[in-house]
């Protein structure tokens, strides 16, 4: 019994729980569901059936498992012309770095279950969330392929466009609560005063910024299939391609968690109690469910939109999104000044 207790203790150790369970295993399950939802929704809106024949009773859900198996067991081809070390390391680093922001995200208000002290968690998690994008550019550069380089350049243009909008709009919640602590931000939304309702401008800016950051559909510019084969991931195959895609989806999940905490009240209808179950597991499940719903909304947009050109997206980002984020910040400060929060 000692062994089992020890293993459980290790698993529920906050850094391991948040980075491995909530950062890697939960997103994998969520992503399979979301990919299925994405394909079925796009098919529904475009008057098709989507994946169907693999398992008609489940609505073709096993198709995604089959795709996963294919990526897992395909041969990984490493071309002769690539810079091998960087080529192999870049997707793995991007995957790890896209999980890392979760270390500064509280999933509960009980201090015993925080991985690190949460005094500056908004700043730390936002800073960490911007690191992984540079490794996509690095992967494209190491691929030594013209499509990869074009995709990587597009990605680097997009980074400059979306990063500042996301950071300003999420920091507006810090301005509203006069605290860089995510726990304070969540606790300020007590009583259904969600910041998405109080400050819709900042929420909209963050939402569109995350769409841009994770190649969501109107802004699926770096990997646009019919222009540059798969963008930065053109030379990747098999498991490495899967790792790339996984990194992109984990990034989307992490951003969804950040938006959930900042604008949708985190674990809030529930008040964390004592002990592991009431204090840590249930609040994490609530946050994950809210983030999953947000991811579903992200993937619904795939069914509606086409793709913007790079110049249109940058135009939109600098002329509309950035001012929108600034207005959100102003609105937040105004609401804090008037004492609405």
């Amino acid at each position: 019994m000692n062994w089992i207790e020890l293993i459980i203790k290790i698993i529920i150790w906050p850094p391991l729980w948040q980075l491995i369970v909530l950062g890697l295993i939960v997103p994998l399950v969520v992503v399979i569901g979301i990919l299925w939802f994405e394909r079925k929704t796009a098919a529904r809106v475009q008057r098709r059936f989507g994946p169907l024949h693999v398992s008609p009773q489940l609505g073709g859900a096993l198709q995604l498992i089959a795709d996963l198996m294919r990526y897992a067991f395909q041969e990984v081809i490493i071309p002769k012309t690539v810079d091998k070390g960087v080529f192999l390391l870049a997707p793995l680093t991007a995957l790890v770095l896209s999980i890392v922001p979760l270390v500064a995200v509280p999933f509960t208000s009980v201090a015993r279950w925080w991985p690190i002290p949460m005094d500056y968690s908004v700043l730390i998690s936002l800073a960490l969330s911007t690191v992984s994008a540079i490794f996509i550019v690095l992967a494209s550069w190491a691929s030594n392929n013209k499509f990869s380089i074009i995709g990587g350049m597009r990605e680097s243009y997009m980074i400059t466009a979306y990063e500042i909008a996301i950071i300003i709009s999420i920091l507006s919640t810090a301005a509203m609560t006069l605290s860089y602590n995510f726990v304070d931000v969540v606790n300020a939304q007590e009583g259904w005063k969600w910041f998405a309702v109080l400050n819709p401008l900042a929420f909209l800016a963050a939402f569109i910024g995350v769409l841009m950051a994770t190649s969501g559909f109107p802004f699926e510019i770096p990997e646009s299939e019919n222009e540059v084969v798969a963008g930065p991931y053109t030379e990747y195959s098999g498991l490495l391609y899967g790792v790339n895609m996984g990194a992109a989806y984990i990034k989307r999940f992490v951003y969804s968690v950040l938006i959930t905490l900042a604008f949708f009240g985190g674990w809030l209808p529930y008040h964390p109690g004592t002990g592991f179950l009431a204090g840590y597991l249930y609040p994490s499940i609530i946050v994950v469910i809210k983030a999953t719903i947000l991811m579903a909304i992200f993937s619904f947009l795939r069914a509606v939109y086409g793709r913007y050109r790079l110049d249109q997206a940058l135009d939109f980002a600098w002329k509309i999104l950035f001012p929108l984020a600034l207005f959100g910040l102003g609105l937040g400060i105004l609401e804090a000044y008037l004492g609405l929060i």
Partner: protein
């Protein structure tokens, strides 16, 4: 006289028009998400009931044929050709070579000219096209199988459906009811 070029109306500029357009697109998406009108044909389980006069496979009525070879001559794809088969004349008792049309479905474009040109209406179309051949040689039909309708295997168990053009929804798939001919 070619039609006069009409100047394109420019889409309305400005943030609010863009926002409105995006919102409308999302509303249409949500509408279709909750009320999908799919028109995919799930083929073995459904098949399209074809209209009368559909130009499908061609069948020869042997008794009506007068061996005139008009069908072979008019065939634009040279799919139809005449072959000579020795045959006994019932009156004189002599054997002589008689011409009969046969068809090669590798070449046939289903234009229906042979059926139109036939003076005695010895050829007719069957109203279906889902026939499976195992190899290319099988598609070169001999006289014996040209006189019978080809075997129609694939969609026998399915539900017959029809596509109608709806005023509001566009193309719509509706189940076909027997005796509903238009």
């Amino acid at each position: 006289m070619p039609p006069k070029p009409v100047p394109k109306t420019k889409p309305k500029r400005g943030i609010f028009h863009k926002f409105k357009g995006n919102l409308e697109a999302i509303i249409v998406g949500v509408k279709y998400f909750f009320d999908p009108e799919r028109f995919t044909l799930v083929y073995p389980k459904e098949y399209t009931k074809l209209r009368e006069g559909y130009r499908g496979f061609i069948v020869l009525i042997k008794d009506k044929c007068i061996h005139c070879a008009s069908c072979a001559r008019i065939c634009p794809a040279s799919a139809m050709k005449m072959i000579r088969i020795p045959q006994k004349d019932p009156k004189t008792g002599k054997t002589k070579m008689v011409m009969w049309p046969v068809i090669n479905y590798q070449r046939c474009i289903f234009c229906g000219m042979c059926v139109d040109v036939c003076p005695t209406e010895a050829l007719y179309h069957v109203p279906y096209h889902d026939v499976v051949y195992e190899n290319l040689a099988e598609m070169d039909i001999d006289l014996e199988s040209f006189t019978k309708p080809p075997e129609y295997k694939t969609a026998k168990e399915g539900i017959p459906v029809r596509y109608v053009i709806d005023e509001e929804k566009g193309l719509v798939k509706v189940p076909y009811k027997e005796g509903e001919e238009k």
